[in-house]
Amino acid sequence: MKKPAKQHAAAAPEGIGKEAASRKIAAAAAEIHADIMRKGKKPSMDFPVRSLSNVKYDVQRGHFEILGKKSTRTLSYHTVKTFAQSMRLLATTKNDLLDRDDIAGKREVYYNSKSWGECRFDAQPESDTLLDDMEAMLGINREQLGYIPEERGGDVCGELVVVDKDPVSGEDVRINCARLGSGAWSIPSRVEHLRFETKAKLVLVVETASLFQRLVHHRYFERANCVLISMSGVPTRACRRFIRRLSDDQKLPVLAFTDGDPYGYCNIYRTLKAGSGQAAHINRFFCVPQAHYLGVTPQDILDYHLEDATHPLEDVDVKRAKDALKNDPFILHHKEWQAVLTQMLKMGVRIEQQAFAKHGLNFVLEVYLPEKLKKGKFLP
C-alpha cells in the first residue's frame, strides 16, 4: 500500500483567537462607519463568490482553492434589509459569542433574531446564508466565531486512542475506540485540540451507517488493522477535519467506500477529498487530499457479478454525472474519474454498498474489502 504523498502541513483553522476575531469584526465595522461618516459614500461588504465556478482544483495541495471572484454588497434600497441584518449578526457574534466566550447553534441564531423587531429573519435559510456570508467576509470559519453545527460529525471505531480534554476540568480524557462495545465514538464539532495514538495502518471511511455497523459488529478493524469512520452521507466539516488531522498526524492513508453512484462519487467523495464550492473559502482546512477511492466502482459491478443487484440511473443521477463531467474542476482534472462516470452512464445503473449481500451477508468484509486492499489499486 502506498504511503500518503507528502502534503503541505495544513495550518490549523484555529490560528486566530477569539480576541483577534472580535477585533476583525470591529475593524470591518469601523471601515463601514468611516465610509458613511467620513468619506460620505455608501458602505459595502465584499464576499468571495462561493460556488464551483469560483474554485480551481489545486493539484499541488489537493483541494479546491478559491479564486478571486468577489461579490460586493453595496448599501442600497434593495440591500438595506440584508445589510442591517448582517450588521446586527456581526454585533451579536462579537458581543454575545466572542466577547463572552459563548456558543450558538444555527437555529439558535435564527431564534435570537426574533428580538430584532422588523429586522428579524423570517426563516432559517436566511440566517444560514448570512452566517456563511459573514464567515466568508471575515475569512474566519464559523466554528471559530462560536457557531456550532447541528449535524453529527460522524462515528469512529477501531484501533485508535483519541486524547480529548474535559471541558470543565481541562484534564485529559483518553478514548480507546477499540473498546467501545457495540457502539462508536462521535466526532465532536471542534477537533483541533484532539491528540491521537494509533498503530493502525489505514483509515477506512464508509458512507452508510448500516455498513459501518456490520464492520464494527464483526470487529473488522482488528482484522484489517484500521480505523473505521462513518460519514452518513456528505461528511460534515468536523468529520473532514478530523480525518485530515488524524491522517496528517499519524501518516495514515485514507480510503473511501461509498455507494456506486454519481452522488457517492461527486458529492460525498469529492467533498471529502477536495472540499465543496459552497465552503470554497475554507476548503484548505476541511478536506482530505490524501484520500483515495476504494469503491464501489462500475467495474466492481462486473467483476463481482452484481449486475442483477443494481438500480437504473435516475434522471437526477444522469444530470449530476453529466454536470460533473462538464463543470467539476476535480473531475475535469482526473481522467480516471471521467472514465468512471462515462462507464457508469454507459451501463446506466448504480449500485449500493449493501449489494454485496447478494453473495452472503459478510461477503463484503470477507472477500470484497480484503481483495480490494490487496490489489491496492484505487481511484485518485
Binding site: I25, A26, A29, A30, I32, H33, I36, M37, G40, K42, L75, S76, Y77, V80, K81, F83, A84, Q85, S86, M87, R88, L89, L90, A91, K94, N95, W116, G117, E118, C119
Partner: protein, 556 residues
Amino acid sequence: MTKRTTAKETAESMAKRQREISVSEFFLKNRHLLGFDNPRKAIMTAVKEAVDNSLDACEEAGILPEVAVELRQVADARFLVLVRDNGPGIVRSQIPKVFAKLLYGSKFHRLRMSRGQQGIGISAAGMYGQLTTGAATLIHSKTQNAPLARRIAVQIDTRSNKPAVLSDEETDWLPAFAPEEEGGEPVVASHGTQVSIEMTAQYVRGRLSVDEYLKQCAIANPHLRLHFRVSLLKKEKGASAAILEEGAWQTYKRATRSLPPAVEAIRPHPHGVELGVLMQMLKDSSARTLKGALEDDFSRVSARMALEICSRAGLNPKTPPARVAHREMEALYAAIQETRLMRPPMDCLSPIGEQQILAGLRKEVPADFYTAVTRSPEVYRGNPFLIEVGLAYAKPGENPDLGAEDSVRVMRLANRVPLLYMGGACAITQALEDVNWKSYGLCQPKGGLPLGPMVLVVHMASVWVPFTSESKEAIAHYPEILKETTMALQEVGRRLSAYLGKRKRLAEAERKRSYIEKYIPHLALGLKDILALSEKQKMEVEAVLTQMLQRSRPES
C-alpha cells in the same frame, strides 16, 4: 281529416273591419316602446319626461332652472308623481294638447338641440297613468303675464288622440321650492308649471331608479337646482290604515349660474335627408322654383350649389318644386349625394363643456382624479353632433359607491338627458367596450367594460339624436358616432393613464422610503453595538444613511 267549408271573406266583409288606428291606441298597446314596460320603469320614465320638458322650457326662456320632483305613495303599488318647475309656464289654450295629445309639441318640426324630440313623452306618461289608475293628469301653470295660474285636469281620448278637459279653473298657485339654506324661507317663483300624474308604479332605489336618474341629471346640468322627495306609506304595527310619511327634501345644488348658450335651429342638411323626406319637403316648400326650394329649405346650399345639383340631376332649376316627378326625384336625390357640400353649421350645438362636466362630477362624485374632453363637432347623416366625455377616478376604497373590482359606472347622456336603460344596445357602450383600457392601466375582461373605481360620463349632443326606439334609451350605432366616442374615450384614457402612472410612482417611492426607514436604525444599531458608539453618534449615522439612500433612489 275532415273537410270543413269555411265562409270565405270578401273584400267587402273585410272592409267592415278595417278602420283607422289612432296613434294613442297604438302606443296604448305598445307602451313598452315608450318606456312604460313595468311599474318600476314607468315611474322613472314619467319623471324623466317631465324633467326634460321643464329643463327645455327653462333654457329656451332663458330662466335658470329650478325643478322639484316628488313621489307620493298613494296605495301599495300606486304613486303620485309631481314635477314642478320655475319655467315660463304654458298658455292656457295649449295645456290640454301638450299634456294629452301624442305627437304634439314644438320640437319635432325643427332641427334644434333639445332634450325632447318627438312630443310623445309627457302625454304618454299621462296616458299610462290614466290607463292604470283612471285618474286624470293635473296641471298647474302660471305664466309671467297672467294674473293667476290655471289648474287643469285633462285626459286623453285614446280613440281620437284628442285631449278631454275635465276641469279648468283659476287658482292663486305659485311654484314653491325647498329653501336655499336649511331653515330658510321656501323659494317661490312668479311663474312655472307643475304636472301631477297618478300611476301604478313601484319605487326602488339602485342603478335604474329615479334617484340615479336625478343624480345624473344634476351632473349633466350643473346649472340646475334640483329637489327630490319620496313620501312612502308606513303601516304601524296594529294600526288599521297606513300613514303617509313625508320624506325630507334632498337638494342637488348648482355648480354654476350660467345657462348653456342658446342654440339655433338649423335647416336640414341635404346629405341627412332621405328620399321620402325630400319629397315631402319639396311638396310643402313655399319657394316657387326648385332652385329656390333647395336654397331656402336646406342648409349649406348656395345658389351655385343649387344649380349644380339641378344640372347633375338633369332638372330645370325653374321647375316648381311640387311638380318634380317621382322618377326625377330619385335623380335629384342621387345628385344631392354626389355633390360636395359644406358641412352643416355647428353653432347649433351646445356642449356641456369641459369645465361644466368637471364641475358636475366634482359636485356629485367624490373622487381623486377628474378630467373631461369635449370633441369638435362632426356629422352623421347630415346631422351635426359632438361627443363629450368626463371621467372621475376615486382612490380604491375611498368612495364606497365605486368598487375597485366592479365595472366602471357609465353615465350615458344624450342632449343632457341621462339614459339608464338598454345600455347594452347603445353605441356609447359599444365604443366603451371597443377601447383597450388595459393600455391605460385598467383591468378589462375580454369584450366588456373596464373595471375600476371610476365614473365615465359620455354625452352626445346633436340636433337629432338617433335613438334605437321611441323610449329614447340607446343611441344607434352610426360609424361616425362610434368613432368620435372612441376617440374621446381614448383621450381621457390617456390622461387617466398618466395620472395612474404618477400615482403608482408616488406610491412606490413612499413604499421604498418607509422600507429604508425601517431598516436603517437596525444598521446603525449594529454599528453602535460593535463600535460602542454613543446614542448621538448612532443618530448621526441614521441621518446620513437615510439621506444617502433617499437621494440616490430613482424617481423620488
